[in-house]
């Protein structure tokens, strides 16, 4: 019998120094730690200020899609989905990965044009997206109210996962390979230390590392501020709900481009649905995880209009989580301007979870072998120094 991996705990001993200290025990930090343990012999420590799965990685909808509007994002998600295919076996835990596809529906001429343009891009790259009429969409999702839908786009390789085991799986395998995962321990400040950095921890301990990775997502502002770093990513509250479980009836995750409503059926049977409530506002740099009745009402109205039969379905629970929004919608990954020993892996704007399998591998190969994946150039944290940045992607839908 193989040794049982333990998951992170508050009791695990920290070394005085390591090669790579990853701050943030979410999917991004743990995927990076797992891949570092595969491609290097570097000594890696992951610090999580609460318990694992407590942050955005435990709060997202679990969608994974390659239907993006920009070639780089399509390619990175093709990479991520390819990794997902074998990940249940690789991590030794059931991720509930199900490729039921993503179905986008458009109601306006502009939305229709976007789906057509995307499908052409996807065809050129080799992503199997196909356009379909409203009637064809209803064959895919029989109870869909399709009046007013001009065009739909479907990619059968997109899908959903259950986020919780994803995080546990990366943690368990990373620990098994020698990574130290310490929970209930926050990095409260960092200072340069020779060619590396020295972290001051909430437990009173200190940790020296050659490289520190800020993988705290929507919370990254705090650690960055302790170093005088001003990056423009900010938290944005997003709400979501899940329902009582039903037998499988809904294959794809459905997105209405106009309202921003999305809903899917998880492999556990529940319907998971989210929407951005109009008129909401975010309060600066503070992560707000409150849920609201306004959200339930707004989501209920939009979901019942699109699929009237779901009116009888009962909501069991709602919650909120933060998106880590960057001004140009692009992630912020790589060395911090002026502090090369501090790497950022933040700013994923609501799509970090689905990109993490690919990003963890990319970042590990960058740290261990200085390999520069093409996306690292556009994700460069230094790009904001020159003022306005270019927005490439228009499939960020809320």
């Amino acid at each position: 019998m193989s040794p049982r991996p333990t998951l992170g705990s508050r009791g695990v001993a920290l070394p005085a120094a390591c090669d790579v200290a990853i701050v943030g025990g979410g999917v991004m930090g743990l995927a990076t730690a797992y891949h570092l343990s595969q491609v290097s012999r570097l000594r890696v420590v992951v610090l999580e200020r609460s318990y694992l799965v407590s942050g955005a990685s435990g709060r997202n909808g679990g969608g994974v899609r390659m239907q993006w509007g920009d070639e780089g994002n399509v390619r990175i998600m093709m990479e991520s989905i390819e990794i997902c295919r074998g990940l249940t076996q690789e991590l030794g835990i059931n991720l509930w990965f199900r490729q039921g596809g993503y179905l986008f529906v458009a109601r306006t001429e502009a939305g229709e044009a976007r789906l057509i343009r995307n499908a052409e891009l996807h065809r050129a790259i080799g992503a199997p997206t196909r356009l379909m009429s409203a009637e064809e969409a209803r064959e895919l999702v029989p109870d869909l109210e399709v009046s007013g839908i001009r065009l739909a786009a479907f990619n059968a390789e997109d899908g959903v996962v259950f986020p919780w085991p994803f995080v546990w799986g990366y943690a368990g395998q990373a620990i098994r390979r020698g990574v130290v995962v310490r929970t209930h321990t926050a990095a409260i400040a960092a200072e340069p230390d020779g060619s590396g950095m020295r972290l001051r921890l909430s437990t009173g301990e200190h940790l020296r590392a050659q490289i520190v990775v800020n993988a705290t997502g929507a919370w990254s502002h705090d650690l960055n501020r302790s170093l005088g770093i001003a990056l423009p990513n900010r938290p944005h509250r997003h709400e979501i709900l899940s329902t009582e479980p039903l037998k499988p009836f809904l294959n794809p995750l459905v997105v209405d481009l106009q309202s921003g409503l999305y809903f899917s059926q998880s492999t556990r049977g529940e319907v998971v649905a989210g929407i951005t409530v109009p008129g909401g506002h975010d309060d600066g740099t503070v992560v707000d995880q409150r849920s609201s009745l306004r959200f339930l009402a707004h989501l209920g109205a939009n979901l019942v209009a699109l699929m009237p039969r779901l009116g009888a379905l009962k909501v069991l629970r709602q919650w909120a989580g933060p998106y880590d929004v960057s001004p140009d919608g692009e992630a912020i990954v790589g060395p911090t301007p002026g502090i090369p020993a501090l790497l950022q892996v933040c700013g994923f704007t609501g799509h970090g979870f689905m990109m993490a399998p690919a990003v963890g591998r990319i970042l590990a190969n960058y740290i261990a072998h200085q390999q520069r994946h093409p996306m690292l150039e556009r994700w460069d944290p230094a790009r904001f120094a020159g003022g306005a940045t270019l927005r490439r992607e228009d499939m960020i839908i809320g």
């Binding site: 976007r114 919780w164 707004h298 799509h351 960020i396």
Partner: protein, 116 residues
Amino acid sequence: MTQRMFICRCEDVTVAEVDHAIGIGLESVEEIKRYTGLGTGPCQGKECTVALVHLLLDRGRITASAVQPFTARPPAEPVTLAELASLAELTGPAELAAPAELASPAGEAPPSGATP
């Protein structure tokens, strides 16, 4: 309690599964919820939380004075989507107005939200 006994009837979580979670280092109700799925079904923990706490006390993992339940999530009891949809009128007409189609290809910035 026997190992084959269900501790969470909604999600079919057994005592043996909770013991496995404890054995790999998980110690709080929040962690065990997220590892086993306990408490995420129709009762939302109303039946199983107390049983879990007793088990954790029996196993010496927690003390009665320090135990915390997992965060309670609204709604307090299951509500149909149709009933929630009817509330939209109460929250004002703006709530129901769908925003204009987002992010035209001409380059208008989309809102900060995102879909998974």
